[in-house]
Structures are given as structure tokens and as C-alpha cells.
């Protein structure tokens, strides 16, 4: 029997690493991947609490999070393709104007 605290601490560590990647990476695709990492960390906390409380609500929430992440990845990657087409670069520092 593994203590729930271990899972919560691992979830917090993964979330923190996701935040670090979000702040320090310069490639727009990698920044997007760090958002997915943070969503995964939160999912781990959901499943851990679901098991600890003996209720299935957490696992249903995880399914909804996964669906929303898939929709977000679709639209986000479409936006990334548009940015790459217009700016000829994937560096976020080159995306600093509101106009084209």
C-alpha cells in the first residue's frame, strides 16, 4: 500500500518541472508540450485522490481532462502551423507583434 502523499508529491514535482519548461523553453512547440506535462501532473493527483477516497469521480474528471487536452492540442497545433507560416520561425520571441 503506497501512501497517497507520495503520489501528490510526485504530481507537484512534475507540475513544477512543467512550469520551469514553460518559462525557459523558447520553441513554441516545446512550450505547448510543457502545458501537456502540467495537465498530466494534475491527472496523477486526481487519480491518487480517487483511489484514496474510494470514489470514482476523480477518474471521470481525468477522462474529461484528457478530452479537453486533445481538443486543445488540435487547435493549438493549428495556430502553431499558422505562426510558422507567417513568421518563418518557431521562436516565441519573434512573435511579438499583434499585426502580421
Amino acid at each position: 500500500m503506497i501512501p497517497t502523499n507520495y503520489f501528490i508529491i510526485l504530481s507537484a514535482v512534475l507540475f513544477g518541472l512543467g512550469v520551469i519548461a514553460f518559462v525557459f523553453k523558447r520553441n513554441i512547440i516545446t512550450i505547448f508540450m510543457s502545458i501537456e506535462l502540467m495537465l498530466n501532473a494534475v491527472n496523477l493527483a486526481f487519480v491518487a485522490f480517487s483511489q484514496a477516497l474510494g470514489k470514482l469521480d476523480g477518474q471521470v474528471f481525468v477522462l474529461f481532462v484528457i478530452v479537453v487536452a486533445a481538443a486543445e492540442a488540435t487547435v493549438g497545433l493549428g495556430i502553431i502551423i499558422l505562426i510558422a507560416r507567417n513568421r518563418r520561425s518557431l521562436n516565441v520571441e519573434r512573435v511579438d507583434l499583434l499585426k502580421l
Binding site: M1, I2, T4, N5, Y6, F7, I8, I9, L10, A12, V13, L14, F15, G16, L17, V19, I20, A21, V23, F24, K25, R26, N27, I29, T30, M33, S34, L37, N40, N43, L44, S50, Q51, A52, L53, G54, K55, L56, D57, Q59, V60, V62, L63, I66, V67, A69, A70, A71, E72, T74, V75, L77, G78, I79, I80, I81, L82, L90, N91, E93
Partner: protein, 167 residues
């Protein structure tokens, strides 16, 4: 140390190593492969928690569909190694203290919660796919229908965004 705890530590170390590797890899395709390592080890942790349906969905949807989409876009755009400029060094000046502060807040919140969650008795019947589908189609049927609408909007949005304008 029980075998379960040993498996937990192996999978936890693997996921943290994958996340660190995501940060330190220069090329986006290597970061994507590191993220797949994280997702597969998280699926193993879900199995350890007795959530076998969520583990399968994690592998199929995250490791399969979403990461294939990422790798596909990386190859489509021919993304190279990332470049660092002076502004990205400025991001480090502001980012390191803020990240340390965030980690401190999370650690304090975990340390302050003295009440450990009472672990429920392990019954295989609770964490079953049948129970999840019962909840999903009875208690959460309205959000479930809304997610299908969300996916429809996402498909339309992706088509409109990626479409080339005809002259």
C-alpha cells in the same frame, strides 16, 4: 520495501527523468520523445493505483494520438534546435525566483496538511470500468455531451486555421 513501493519509485524516477530531459533537450523532437516516456510511466502509476481504464486511455489518447500529432507537426514544420537570445536570459532572471517561490508554496501546502487522507479499503470492485461508465453516462451525462460539442468546435477550428487562403 514492498514490491509495490519499489515499482512506484522506479516509475516515479522514470517520469521525473523524462520531465528533466524535456527541459534540457535542445531539439523539439527529443523533447517530444521525453514527454512520451513521462506519459507511459504515468500510465504505469495509474495501473498501480488500480485505475486500469484510465491507464489504457492514457496510453491510447496521450501516448498515441496527441503525441503523434505533436511529432507530425514537428516534422511538418521542420523544426530545428531552439535558439537563445538576450531576452531569454532575462527570462531566467525573472523566472528562477518565481519558480522557486511556486515550488515553495506547493511544498508548504503539502507539509501543512497534517491530515493524511485515509486510504480506502482496497476493493477491486470500486475501480472498475463498469463503475466509471455508470458515472459517466448517468451523473456526468451533460458534461459528456458538452465535450462532444467541444471536439466538434475544435475540429472546425483546426480546419479553418490550417486552411490556405485561396486567391
Amino acid at each position: 520495501m514492498s514490491p509495490q513501493l519499489a515499482v512506484f519509485f522506479v516509475l516515479a524516477a522514470l517520469s521525473v527523468l523524462g520531465a528533466v530531459s524535456l527541459i534540457f533537450q535542445k531539439h523539439p523532437i527529443h523533447s517530444a520523445l521525453s514527454l512520451i516516456v513521462v506519459m507511459v510511466s504515468l500510465a504505469g502509476l495509474y495501473l498501480l493505483l488500480g485505475a486500469e481504464f484510465v491507464a489504457a486511455v492514457q496510453i491510447i489518447v496521450y501516448g498515441g494520438a496527441i503525441m503523434v500529432l505533436f511529432v507530425f507537426v514537428i516534422m511538418l514544420l521542420n523544426a530545428g534546435a531552439e535558439e537563445h537570445t538576450n531576452i531569454s536570459k532575462m527570462a531566467g532572471v525573472a523566472g528562477i525566483p518565481l519558480t522557486v517561490a511556486l515550488a515553495g508554496f506547493i511544498a508548504a501546502a503539502i507539509a501543512r496538511s497534517n491530515e493524511t487522507v485515509q486510504a480506502a479499503a482496497q476493493t477491486g470492485a470500486v475501480a472498475s470500468t463498469k463503475g466509471i461508465s455508470n458515472m459517466l453516462f448517468k451523473d456526468f451525462v451533460y458534461p459528456f455531451e458538452l465535450t462532444s460539442f467541444l471536439i466538434l468546435v475544435a475540429i472546425l477550428g483546426a480546419i479553418v486555421l490550417a486552411q490556405r487562403e485561396n486567391e
